[in-house]
């Protein structure tokens, strides 16, 4: 049985006429790495700030550890934050920065030193204790910010896009390090990011947000393979959206007409009715391209190659289906034999197939 650590209950936040967060309900479990993912302005940072106590909800409740936070000020909440720009105090040494939270909690002097040292060792920077923040690189500052928050042993750690200021290589390394650290300390992490790859790599569960609302909550695999709607499918990874009309609504699969007599079966997660206009979503890597019609396979869609781009690991085809749809397929270049490796060229007539579970019917 998992315990709920942080809960947003029908939380709405308005700034004047602008609704930043619109009736959001989320349950975050104890010890979980939970990400709030969405484009800028989707309300993810506002949610985090309401958990931290920097903003109060206009409506709804924020609960931490089963207790309603009400108007509890930030300094009385059992959470700590790693800020986007780290906000290390420039007039203090690294040691003083990390010790600050313990001092505020009136931890005994004799206990402060070992705990700060332990925290600095945890982020593998014990040698920097006497430096000032401006003498540190971005990656080092980032780790010190982590140490400064974790030294307080908070119930929940809030991270506001902490990796966005780092360069790509460092960011990748820190993603893994952060994930390791979270498993090591066992604290609930709530991570705000606009980078879908980052969220998928690190999270146990993700809440995808847009325009102040939660679009979908689930494990990374679930979000990627079974997006609820067009926004989620589009925001996470790359997807083909093929417009069509429901021809037949079976119990197992839905038959969608794409025009020019082409029909494809797809899985519908919501109720659809015959004649309804829908979108079929298929990820490029799920599509196979064949020279001849594949035998014994349910899905066989004739297509014309419009463009073929060789990009090393894959070849990326842009194909025309049923005269009016453009579909992108990404085929892994498994074969490395130059002589036998066969690529399709512009104008070739081909056949596309995919697993029926890979084609999702989306209504919105």
């Amino acid at each position: 049985m998992v315990n709920v650590d942080v809960e947003l209950q029908s939380v709405t936040k308005r700034f004047g006429d602008f609704i930043a967060v619109d009736n959001v309900s989320v349950q975050i479990y104890d010890g979980e790495f939970f990400s709030l993912l969405g484009p800028s302005g989707c309300g993810k940072t506002t949610c985090l700030r309401m958990i931290a106590g920097f903003e109060l909800p206009s409506e709804g409740e924020v609960n931490i550890g089963g207790k309603s936070m009400g108007e509890t000020p930030p300094f009385k909440r059992p959470v700590n934050t790693v800020f986007q720009n780290y906000a290390l105090f420039p007039h203090m040494t690294i040691f003083e920065n990390v010790a600050f939270g313990l001092e505020m909690k009136k931890v005994a002097r004799s206990e402060i030193k070992p705990r700060v040292t332990e925290a600095l060792e945890m982020v593998r920077l014990p040698q920097l204790a006497d430096r000032r923040p401006r003498q540190l690189s971005g990656g080092q500052q980032q780790r010190i910010a982590l140490a400064r928050a974790l030294v307080n042993r908070p119930q929940v750690l809030l991270l506001d896009e902490p990796l966005s200021a780092l360069d790509l290589k460092l960011r990748k390394a820190m993603q893994l390090e952060l994930k390791d650290l979270q498993q090591q300390v066992g604290i609930t992490f709530i991570f705000v990011t606009h980078d879908q790859e980052e969220a998928i790599t690190m999270s146990d569960r993700i809440a995808v947000m847009s325009d102040g609302r939660v679009e979908q909550i689930g494990e990374p695999l679930e979000i990627y393979e079974r997006p609820n709607n067009r926004f989620v499918a589009d925001f996470i990874g790359e997807t083909n959206f093929i417009e069509g009309e429901v021809i037949e609504n079976g119990s197992d699969s839905t038959l969608v007409g794409l025009g020019a007599g082409v029909q494809i079966p797809a899985r519908a997660s919501q109720e659809v009715s015959s004649g309804q206009t829908v979108t079929v979503a298929v990820r490029p890597e799920k599509i196979s391209v064949h020279a001849a019609a594949p035998m014994n396979q349910g899905i066989n869609v004739p297509a014309t190659v419009e463009e073929a781009i060789y990009i090393g690991t894959d070849t990326r085809y842009t194909l025309r289906v049923a005269e009016r749809h453009h579909v992108v397929a990404r085929i892994q270049n498994v074969n490395s034999d130059l002589a036998t490796n066969r690529f399709f060229k512009r104008g070739d007539l081909v056949h596309l197939s995919w697993d029926i579970d890979s084609a999702l019917v989306l209504t919105s």
Binding site: N80, L88, F100, M104, A149, N152
Partner: protein, 285 residues
């Protein structure tokens, strides 16, 4: 290369010329004159006789009256500086937290008094705080006091006048430095468990120290030499270095002694400022 740098020097000289000229004529030269005069003698007719001697300095340090005046001036300047900081800081903080257009408007209001001559403003202040002035009439009218509060011609009156006169000078540098404060630090401190008072003492105050230092110096130095305010608000009861200097130059016509007093004042202010910086006020991070 050589040519370019010569040309650059020429341009630099041309641009810096006026300010160097200005400083030499109106700052360095008068300072040297004062220094020379301070080692001279006053003739019986009040004319400066250039006859090198240390008599004037001996007089400054041997007569306890002068030392008392120096001490009183120093003490009043320190009290006034602290008062200015205490009053100006919350106000500057308030301004810095407003929207940019409101900030401009409030700064404009701070500057408005400068449109009027300082002397006239001091007389206006006298009209308000004198025994039969607005302030006392108001208090008596409300029945808060029976007798008017005597503010005029007291040390309190002098302090009030100086606080009024130098407050804008304290507000401006404080505002400039608070306005630059990154409030993420404040939130980070709150997040780490610091309540309001501790956020102020541990984060806001240290980070705005440059403004506090600038405001202190900019109020301390002119109050050390103030003479209009003690003269008008103190009515001769509060006699400071400024008044002494004015008296020596204008009434007694002892320029050599006045010059020596001026040099001592300058050195005193310099030492006080250096001590203040050394005490950590000017510590940079």
């Amino acid at each position: 290369m050589q040519q370019v740098s010569t040309q650059k020097k020429g341009v630099l000289g041309f641009l810096l010329g006026p300010s160097v000229f200005w400083l030499v004529i109106f700052f360095v030269a008068p300072l040297i004159i004062v220094l020379v005069v301070s080692f001279s003698k006053r003739s019986l007719l009040g004319v400066v006789e250039y006859d090198f001697n240390l008599q004037n300095y001996r007089r400054v340090f041997s007569d306890v009256i002068y030392l008392r005046i120096f001490w009183k001036s120093l003490w009043l300047a320190i009290v006034n500086t602290i008062l200015c900081l205490v009053v100006a800081y919350p106000f500057a903080f308030y301004i810095a937290r407003q929207t940019p257009s409101r900030q401009n408007f409030l700064i404009f209001l701070v500057m408005v008094p400068f449109w009027t001559n300082f002397l006239i403003r001091t007389y206006a202040l006298i009209f308000i705080v004198r025994d039969t002035g607005l302030f006392n009439n108001f208090l008596i009218g409300l029945g808060i006091v029976d007798e008017p509060l005597v503010i005029m011609f007291t040390q309190t009156g002098v302090l009030l006048g100086m606080l009024y006169g130098y407050l804008p000078f304290a507000i401006l540098p404080l505002y400039a430095s608070i306005e630059q404060l990154d409030f993420n630090y404040v939130q980070a401190a709150q997040d780490l468990g610091a309540s309001g008072v501790r956020v102020f003492l541990r984060i806001i105050l240290p980070l705005t120290m440059p403004g506090v230092v600038a405001a202190s110096i900019i109020t301390f130095i002119p109050t050390m030499g103030a003479y209009v305010t003690p003269d008008l608000m103190g009515g001769g009861n509060t006699f400071l270095i400024g008044n002494l200097l004015q008296q020596q130059f204008m009434t007694v016509r002892d320029w050599p002694f006045g010059s020596a007093l001026g040099i001592v004042l300058m050195i005193l202010v310099l030492i006080a400022t250096i001590i203040y910086f050394r005490k950590g006020g000017g510590r940079a991070f």
